[in-house]
C-alpha cells in the first residue's frame, strides 16, 4: 500500500494525539490516547512482524532439534502473520517442555543447550521490543 502503512499509521497516531485528544476529557480522552499509542505500536510492528517471527521460528526449531525434538517446518512456508504466530506458539510450547527437561539434567550438553535457549529468549524480547515501553 502507498503511502507506506507504518508511515501513514504513525502520522494518524500523531494527529489523534495532537488534534483529537485535547478536544476530549477524562475517560474518552484516555481511550483515544491509548488508541493512538496502539496505532504507533501497529506502525512499529507492521514492517518487522513477519521477519521476526520467521527468524524466531527458525531459531527455536534449531534449538529443539539439538534437544532431540523434531517439529517439521511447513513444506510450503505460509508467511501470513497468523500462520507464523500459530507456528511460533507450537514451537514455544515445545521449548518450554525441552527447557523443563534440561533443568533436571546436570551435564555439559544440557547446560550448553539451556544457555543457548536463554540467549535466544533474550534475542526474542529485543526483537519484540516496543519503543514506548518503560523497559
Amino acid at each position: 500500500m502507498k503511502p507506506s502503512i507504518p508511515v501513514a499509521a504513525a502520522d494518524l497516531a500523531a494527529r489523534l494525539r495532537a488534534e483529537i485528544v485535547p478536544e476530549l476529557t477524562g475517560f474518552r480522552a484516555n481511550n483515544v490516547a491509548m488508541g493512538s499509542a496502539m496505532i504507533d505500536m501497529i506502525a512499529e510492528e507492521f514492517d518487522r512482524a513477519a521477519a521476526r517471527l520467521f527468524d524466531e521460528n527458525e531459531a527455536v526449531r534449531g534449538l529443539l532439534e539439538r534437544g532431540g525434538v523434531a517439529i517439521a517446518a511447513p513444506a510450503r512456508p505460509d508467511l501470513r502473520i497468523s500462520a507464523l504466530e500459530a507456528e511460533n506458539d507450537r514451537l514455544r510450547a515445545a521449548l518450554i517442555d525441552l527447557q523443563t527437561a534440561l533443568e533436571t539434567r546436570d551435564d555439559t550438553d544440557a547446560r550448553a543447550l539451556d544457555a543457548d535457549i536463554w540467549r535466544e529468549l533474550a534475542r526474542s524480547v529485543e526483537r519484540r521490543r516496543i519503543a514506548s515501553a518503560n523497559f
Binding site: 477524562g26 475517560f27 480522552a29 484516555n30 481511550n31 491509548m34 488508541g35 499509542a37 496502539m38 505500536m41 504466530e85 506458539d89 514455544r92 510450547a93 521449548l95 518450554i96 527447557q99 523443563t100 533443568e103 535457549i117 536463554w118 540467549r119 529468549l121 533474550a122 524480547v125 519484540r128 521490543r129 516496543i130 514506548s132 515501553a133 518503560n134 523497559f135
Partner: protein
C-alpha cells in the same frame, strides 16, 4: 454492560435510603482510572431529618469481565480494614453487591477532589525537584503499612496466610491465573515460575496487610507532593510485606524509562526509605524472589487483560488490549534481567 445513568443512581439511592428526600445526582462521569474496574465521579444532594446534604462521591463498579480476580466486597472491606490505622485512605460509604440495580456490584466512597494521581505528571520538569519528597511519602507510607500489626486488622474476608505459606500461596495463585487466562506459551514466565519453586524464600519477617498494587498512579498527592490517600486496594491480601516493596520496584513501572523506580527514586533510596519506615529489613535474596514473583504476577495480569479483551461478549475495554500490547514483552524483559539473562 448497562450504562450508568444519573436517573438510575437517583432511583437506586432513593429506594435504598427511604428517609432521604430530594435526592439529586449531578455530574456523573467515568474517570480514566485502572483496567480492572469502572470508576465514576458524581455529586450527591439530598435532605433528611438533619437538613440538606451535599457530597462528592466516587463509585466503583465491577464489570462482567475483568483482568483482576477481585470483587466489590473485597476492595470495600480492605479499605474499611485499613482505615484509621495510619495509612490515609478515602472513607467507604456504601456497598451494593447485588448486580441488579446498577448493572454490577458497586461501592461508593468519599471523593478526595483537587489532588493528583498521575504517574506520568511526575515525569514533567515541574515535578522533578519534588520527587525526593514524594519518594519519602510513597515508600514511607508503604513501610508504615508493612508495620501495622496484622492482628489489629479485621481481615476475615481475606484468604488466611502464614509467614511460611504466603510465598508459595501467591505463586500458586498467579500460576493458576496464567493457566486460566492462557494467551499462548510463555517460555520466559514459565521458566521464572520453575526457578521460584526451586528457590523458595525464607518465611516472611512478619505477616502484613499487603496492598497488592502500591505504585505511582495508585495514590493521591497534593501540589507539594504530599501523599493524601492510597487507592486501589482490590488486590489487598495477607502476606509478606516485601511483596509491596518488590512490586513498587518493578521495571515495567519505571515511568521515566530510566533506573528510577515508579519513575520516582533509585531502587536503593526506595529500599532505604521503606526499611526506615517499616522497621523491617529487605533481605536482598528474599526481595529478589518477590521481585521475580511480581513479574509472574504482572504477566498474569497483562495476560488476563488480553484474555478479557479476546473473550468478552460485551463492550471491550481499550485499556485491556493496550496494556497487553504495551506490557507483556517489557515484563518478559524484566524477568530476563532478574534472572541474569538479559
Amino acid at each position: 454492560m448497562k450504562a450508568l445513568t444519573e436517573a438510575d443512581m437517583t432511583a437506586y439511592l432513593a429506594a435504598r435510603f427511604p428517609d432521604w428526600r430530594d435526592v439529586r445526582i449531578e455530574g456523573l462521569h467515568r474517570l480514566p482510572l485502572g483496567a480492572s474496574r469502572e470508576t465514576y465521579r458524581f455529586d450527591l444532594g439530598y435532605s433528611d431529618g438533619e437538613g440538606a446534604h451535599s457530597d462528592r462521591l466516587i463509585l466503583r463498579r465491577d464489570p462482567p469481565v475483568s483482568n483482576v480476580d477481585s470483587d466489590r466486597n473485597h476492595e470495600y472491606s480492605a479499605y474499611r480494614a485499613i482505615h484509621g490505622h495510619g495509612i490515609p485512605v478515602p472513607r467507604m460509604i456504601l456497598l451494593e453487591e447485588d448486580p441488579g440495580p446498577m448493572g454490577g456490584a458497586i461501592s461508593i466512597a468519599e471523593d478526595l477532589r483537587g489532588y493528583h494521581n498521575s504517574e506520568y505528571q511526575l515525569q514533567e520538569p515541574a515535578w522533578q525537584d519534588k520527587l525526593p519528597h514524594i519518594a519519602g511519602q510513597m515508600w514511607g507510607a508503604m513501610g508504615r503499612l508493612a508495620a501495622v500489626p496484622v492482628e489489629a486488622l479485621d481481615l476475615d474476608f481475606m484468604v488466611p496466610a502464614t509467614p511460611e505459606s504466603t510465598a508459595m500461596q501467591e505463586l500458586d495463585f498467579w500460576e493458576a491465573t496464567l493457566d486460566k487466562n492462557d494467551v499462548g506459551p510463555e517460555p520466559i514466565t514459565r521458566a521464572a515460575i520453575r526457578w521460584l519453586r526451586r528457590n523458595p524464600p525464607p518465611p516472611a519477617q512478619k505477616l502484613a496487610m499487603v496492598h497488592g498494587d502500591f505504585r505511582a498512579g495508585n495514590f493521591l498527592y497534593d501540589d507539594d507532593g504530599n501523599l493524601i490517600a492510597v487507592l486501589d486496594w482490590e488486590m489487598a491480601h495477607r502476606g509478606d510485606p516485601l511483596e509491596d516493596l518488590a512490586w513498587s520496584l518493578a521495571r515495567v513501572f519505571s515511568f521515566g524509562k530510566d533506573d528510577r523506580r515508579s519513575g520516582i527514586a533509585p531502587r536503593e533510596d526506595a529500599i532505604r526509605i521503606w526499611e526506615a519506615a517499616s522497621g523491617l529489613t529487605a533481605d536482598p535474596a528474599a526481595l529478589h524472589w518477590w521481585e521475580l514473583l511480581n513479574c509472574v504476577k504482572g504477566q498474569g495480569i497483562w495476560n488476563s487483560c488480553a484474555h478479557a479483551w479476546t473473550t468478552t461478549s460485551g463492550e471491550r475495554e481499550v485499556i485491556h488490549a493496550y496494556a497487553a500490547w504495551w506490557l507483556r514483552n517489557a515484563q518478559d524483559r524484566a524477568i530476563l534481567e532478574l534472572m541474569g539473562h538479559l
